[in-house]
């Protein structure tokens, strides 16, 4: 087994000075000769990675990312990461890039909260000893490591995300390739403890004390649970039943990370919440309305006008906005922002029909509870398009109807809409300024809860969508990753 120990110098310096000791990360490989880290294929240096073989460049990225984590963590116990390059699932247009996890977990070690699960790297840090030291290996050769990782050795080859390999540069200029630095940085975050780990979010069950399985009774909580505050239930996961945890995991925009340090960090990191500010001549209805920009929309710029609002009639049979607009609907929406209900046909079809009728924008109203991020793809769509919740959609339609009463017979009153910010809230945080965890409904097992919510802005490293605009800074005012880990005990 190839072992590469990096950045050992901080150990010696800290020991001399008696200062907090920067973490050291030890990378081991399970690749066979000529494979993965050992691939001898000659390559040209790229983006600050001066390796001259494919294997060297892969290892250099691991070392670079390990170095980022080392600069952010403190531990007297080396953190061990095992790596392998293996064939993983692919098609020509998609691929599993890789995976990672805490490979050992502990509870009831010195310094731990009693009866509480921790990822091993963090447990070792708190206990100041390698808890797996001396334990027989499981036969794999890496059974005692803190973090297991594997990445796709075929990425970019024919049939495996064709012509889109990992970008092995260290400068972030991945272009049309897959930025391996960001992917590995994110996945190692999970392995270090950015994961609820010991709760099955499908049923709220906890991991048994021997780690053998999740069970309805007898399981132990994860260290995460004391920080996971559900605004609907009014309590943390630590105090919930299985059913309450199950419900909380699919309670959109209500589950937050509760700590004073995190509120301060979020206040420094997240922008004020982008919102639509609606004005109406009617006595009620003016105010802020949350929205999510459609994935196929042109950019929405805060401070710009969206337009006067109009409603597209509901159509339970064909779906609102699914058919080309008739003359009455066309007259209603021309030059205005069309409010259309979700349902029956693709979002892009509804927007295209509004566009053809002369609308200047579209608001898609959800037909189930929760926020709506309209997805899809149609290069022909040029209208700015946003999604709103079921409740806000109903409110906006009522605003349009009420506004009409406050005009003249020849010129009904209209409600208008601008893109603004709500100065009382942060993007991706609850009303108390606590950043929200990812709780879509339906559940995405394992992904739900163990990431920040996608409403966070600027984008954060530990959101489920790994955005191309991320950097490598893990602390405020750029990111909240380190703050969460510090809350846990890092």
């Amino acid at each position: 087994m190839k072992s590469v120990k990096i950045l050992a110098l901080p150990f010696a310096l800290a020991a001399i000075a008696g200062a907090a000791q920067a973490a050291t990360i030890v990378i081991t490989s399970r690749d066979a000769p000529g494979v993965g880290f050992n691939d001898p294929t000659p390559v040209a240096p790229v983006g600050g990675n001066d390796g001259t073989t494919l294997g060297q460049q892969r290892l250099n990225v691991y070392k670079y990312v390990a170095g980022i984590w080392e600069q952010n963590l403190e531990s007297t116990v080396p953190i061990t990461v095992n790596a392998g390059w293996e064939p993983l699932s692919c098609t020509a247009t998609s691929a599993v890039l890789g995976s990672a996890a805490a490979w050992n977990a502990w509870h009831d070690f010195p310094g731990a909260k009693p009866g509480t699960w921790y990822a091993q790297a963090l447990a070792n840090k708190i206990a100041k000893v390698n808890l797996s030291d001396g334990h027989p290996d499981d036969g794999s050769g890496y059974g005692n490591v803190d973090i297991k990782t594997q990445f796709n050795i075929n990425l970019g080859k024919t049939g495996c995300l064709d012509n889109t390999p990992f970008y092995l540069g260290l400068d972030g200029n991945a272009g049309s390739q897959v930025n391996f630095v960001e992917t590995l940085l994110h996945e190692l975050g999970h392995g270090l403890g950015f994961s609820v780990l010991a709760v099955n979010t499908s049923n709220g069950w906890r991991l048994l004390p021997d780690g053998s399985d999740f069970a309805p009774t007898g399981g132990l909580p994860a260290v995460w649970e004391g920080f996971m505050y559900d605004n609907t239930a009014g309590k943390t996961w630590l105090d919930m039943s299985n059913d309450e945890r199950k419900a909380s995991a699919i309670n959109p925009l209500k589950l937050a990370w509760k700590s004073d340090a995190m509120v301060a960090a979020a206040n420094a990191t997240l922008t004020h919440t982008p919102t639509m500010k609606v004005s109406t001549p009617a006595p009620t209805g003016s105010g802020f309305y949350d929205y999510s920009t459609a994935t196929f929309s042109p950019p929405v710029v805060t401070g710009t006008s969206f337009g006067a609002l109009a409603t597209v009639p509901a159509d339970p049979v064909n779906g609102g906005g699914c058919l080309p607009f008739d003359s009455a609907t066309t007259a209603a929406v021309v030059g205005k922002v069309a409010i259309i209900d979700r349902g029956v046909c693709p979002f892009t079809q509804k927007v295209k029909n509004a566009q053809n009728a002369g609308a200047v924008g579209v608001i898609l109203a959800n037909n189930v509870a929760g926020a709506l991020v309209p997805g899809g793809s149609d290069p022909g769509v040029v209208l700015r398009t946003v999604g709103v919740s079921l409740d806000d959609g109903a409110r906006l339609k009522a605003v349009v109807a009420d506004a009409a009463k406050y005009g003249t017979r020849g010129k009904p009153g209209v409600a208008s809409d601008v893109f603004a910010v709500d100065p009382s809230r942060r993007a991706g945080a609850d009303l108390a300024g606590r950043p929200l965890l990812y709780t879509p409904n339906p559940l995405v097992p394992g992904s739900s809860v163990s990431h920040w919510d996608v409403s966070a802005f600027p984008n954060l490293l530990m959101e489920p969508n790994i955005s191309p605009d991320l950097g490598t800074t893990l602390v405020p005012p750029k990111d909240l990753t380190k703050t969460l880990l510090t809350d846990l005990g890092w």
Binding site: S132, S140, S212, G375, V444
Partner: protein, 138 residues
């Protein structure tokens, strides 16, 4: 005599019984599938448990699945530390998976899933399914 079996169920073929081995300091519990077991068979005539004959052992070995190259892909393993701490080596069900999906317009979208099943569903359904793209399309 001890033989590595995928599970005790393998020995049921010959009415054998499995017992957890003291050689393994961390026997899996619950519904964990891997066990290191001593082997006995129930005699068809007397109904009593006894050691298998050479022929029965050969048949058992042939019926048992080959030992996994990486046992870590299977059950978790309990661990103990002299401090009183208890832990477990986890398994692949605890993994997070990064998936990249190329959209019809050429954009690359990267997602992190918490299970192999979700990750592979996203890969096989790419590029237009709601599984591969957290944003619904209709």
């Amino acid at each position: 005599m001890s033989i590595l079996f995928k599970s005790c169920a393998a020995s049921v073929l010959l009415a054998a019984a499995c017992a957890a081995s003291a050689a393994d300091d961390a026997p899996p519990a619950g519904n964990a599938p891997v066990a290191l077991g001593q082997v006995a068979v129930r005699d068809a005539v007397t109904g009593r448990l006894r050691e298998p004959t050479a022929a029965e052992m050969k048949a058992l070995q042939a019926a048992a699945p080959a030992p996994q190259a990486r046992k870590s892909a299977g059950a978790t393993r309990a661990k103990h530390h002299k401090s009183g701490a208890t832990g477990a080596r986890l398994n692949d069900s605890f993994m997070s998976y990064s998936v990249m999906v190329k959209q019809p317009d050429g954009r690359l979208l990267e997602y992190c899933f918490g299970s192999k099943e979700d990750a592979e569903a996203a890969v096989s359904a790419a590029p237009s399914s709601s599984q591969s793209n957290p944003a619904p399309t209709e």
